[in-house]
Amino acid sequence: MREVAIVAFAQSDHVRTSDEQSEVEMVMPVLHQVLEQTGLKTSDIGFTCSGSSDYLAGRAFSFTMTLDGVGAWPPISESHVEMDGAWAMYEAWVKLLTGEVDTALVYSYGKSSPGSVRDVLTRQLDPYYVAPLWPDAVALAALQAQALIDAGETDEPALAGIAARSRESASTNSHAQLTGSVPQGDYLVQPLRKGDCPPVSDGAVAVILAAGDKARELCERPAWIRGMDHRIEAHSLGVRDLTDSPSTRLAAERAGVFERPVDTAELHAPFTSQEVVLRKALGLGDDVTLNPSGGALAANPVMAAGLLRIGEAAARIHRGESDRAVAHATSGPCLQQNLVAVLEGEAR
């Protein structure tokens, strides 16, 4: 199989509101940064793929506006997924594996501030049986959290501990939104308190992928993608065992996570309780550095938070802080769909 690596990663600062900026104004600096890291120009990029959602923007084909930040003239090879950018990266990875191109630019962004992300996410639910009840994203995560508590897998103090550890880790991440000591606060939907939930964030992320020697040329220590897979489970929550994530486990198995130990995990767990589920599904022990970036509890630009996890894991490999990392992205209510990638740096 062709060797493909992440060779550059950039992100915006993640903020509660960015209404002075349009989407393209938010995304463009991040695109410039990631190109600058590699010295590539738009015209050097073989394939461009982005992820975002019209439901956050409240208008159709909103992603086309951000193409102005890429420089789409003269014509470029471009694609878009109405999903988290992690899935855009999957598409780009496949494109590189085919041998058709040697480099790819992947970016995604989420500008949640114009609407209410709790309500927006209800529109992804089953329109016949569930969406008419408007169960918001926090409510669904809370049902999963209670199921975990009932099963004896966690309790509220343990969840508070996850929140505290995440925001403490984020204090070394200059792009994070919530850092340091953040009060757990009142219940938003019991058993989840405000501190168990992610902030509402606006932000953007970009990575550059390259194949083989091109990657070695562009990056001192490329983060090689050793495997990547994504799996989905039944849409109906009542059919699933909410205390487990078999789709994460299967994706991890196919991506090769279990072949050798990992030293770092960047998990896309917007809610503290979801980290409990993911940690179990991936079989992560206490020796693994978990979400050193602070994860989605520190900054959660919807549609970018998954690609951010992959980028953060890659950056640790670039910096020599990790040799083998697992990165995870999720989509849908209560971890319905999960993507897992294994990243490795060459031996030093």
């Binding site: 104004e25 918001d136 219940y187 009542g238």
Partner: protein, 315 residues
């Protein structure tokens, strides 16, 4: 920097969805206070029912009737109900495994407080007074002291008089829209009956309306440039279809107009000239109506037509 503009934006749509045989039977059943499930080839009973087995993807059609009583499998206390949710006072979200079913249904539970709710508690359906064949025909669940009836789910033919064949899934999302810095400047300038664009620092092209980025170079644009007011028609079409709520006599002309000094044509209606005399190269100027916040239309200036070479890059 002046403050960016903001305005409420409501996106609302009554999605009309048709139902397959299983969903139709289930929702019609709710209208008749009958809860139906579907049996998989393994003998599991799914409530709410689906048309395809979530494990094998086999088509499933064997309907059974289950009880309107059940057991909470997990719950979450919702202290502040949001718009559209089943109850407007604090309630519990619950997944309920109805007696006879193997899977759980999501709904609301009316209870006095979180202390009155626990997993494993017994509940029953509270039916809505007016039922139309929708999931909201279950108003909510309520605590129920009794045990399961113990009767096995009975086969049901799913046939009802006047079965519902579709639902209207109303969706509404509220936003506060902001056009960002560049477009705010454009809109504010329009209030003074001026058109401003932004010049790309790289290729020097002037974009109107500006969006803060050069689509060719992919760099930020910041230098503000006043353009127009007059311009040249670069291309046009004749509209013969009346748009809803638009009080314009048919046919009318809609065109691309390259304002003087701009490197991108914007679009507008062209009037003040018979529709069949509009042409490429026609020189036009904006016409503002009293209190209008943007040009109502463009009319001929009376100047000679522009030479094709002066605007061919903009067609």
């Amino acid at each position: 920097m002046p403050e960016v503009l903001k305005a409420p934006l409501v996106v609302e749509f009554p999605f009309t969805r048709s139902l397959g045989p299983v969903q139709s039977a289930f929702l019609t059943g709710l209208r008749e206070q009958t809860v139906l499930g579907v049996k998989t080839s393994e003998g599991k009973i799914l409530v709410p029912p689906v048309e395809y087995d979530p494990v094998t993807a086999e088509e499933i059609r064997d309907l059974v009737q289950v009880d309107a009583t059940g057991t909470v499998t997990t719950w979450a206390w919702n202290p502040e109900p949001r718009r559209g949710q089943p109850l407007d006072t604090a309630f519990a979200w619950v997944l309920v495994k109805l007696d006879g079913a193997d899977t759980a249904l999501l709904h609301a539970l009316d209870a006095p407080g979180p202390d009155a709710v626990h997993s494993g508690m017994r509940v029953r359906v509270r039916w809505a007074a007016e039922r139309t064949g929708a999931i909201t025909d279950i108003a909510c669940f309520e605590p129920y002291e009794g045990d399961a009836s113990g009767t096995e789910p009975a086969a049901h033919d799913g046939q009802f008089d006047d079965a519902v064949s579709g639902i209207v899934a109303r969706a509404r999302l509220d936003y506060t829209y902001s056009p960002g810095r560049a477009q705010t400047a454009y809109i504010n300038a329009l209030a003074d009956r001026k058109a401003v664009g932004e010049r790309c620092p790289n290729c020097s092209k002037v974009y109107v309306p500006p969006r803060g980025a050069c689509p060719t170079c992919g760099v930020a644009t910041a230098e503000r440039v006043e353009v127009g007011p007059a311009g040249t028609v670069t291309t046009f079409c004749i509209v013969n279809v009346k748009a809803k709520n638009l009080d314009i006599e048919l046919p009318y002309v809609y065109g691309h107009i390259a304002l003087d000094g701009a490197d991108l044509a914007l679009h507008g209606r062209i009037a003040g000239i018979p529709y069949d005399q509009v042409r490429m190269g026609l020189r036009v100027e904006p016409v503002w109506t009293e209190g209008g916040r943007y040009p109502d239309h463009y009319r001929p200036t009376g100047e000679p037509d522009a030479d094709y070479d002066t605007y061919k890059e903009l067609v």
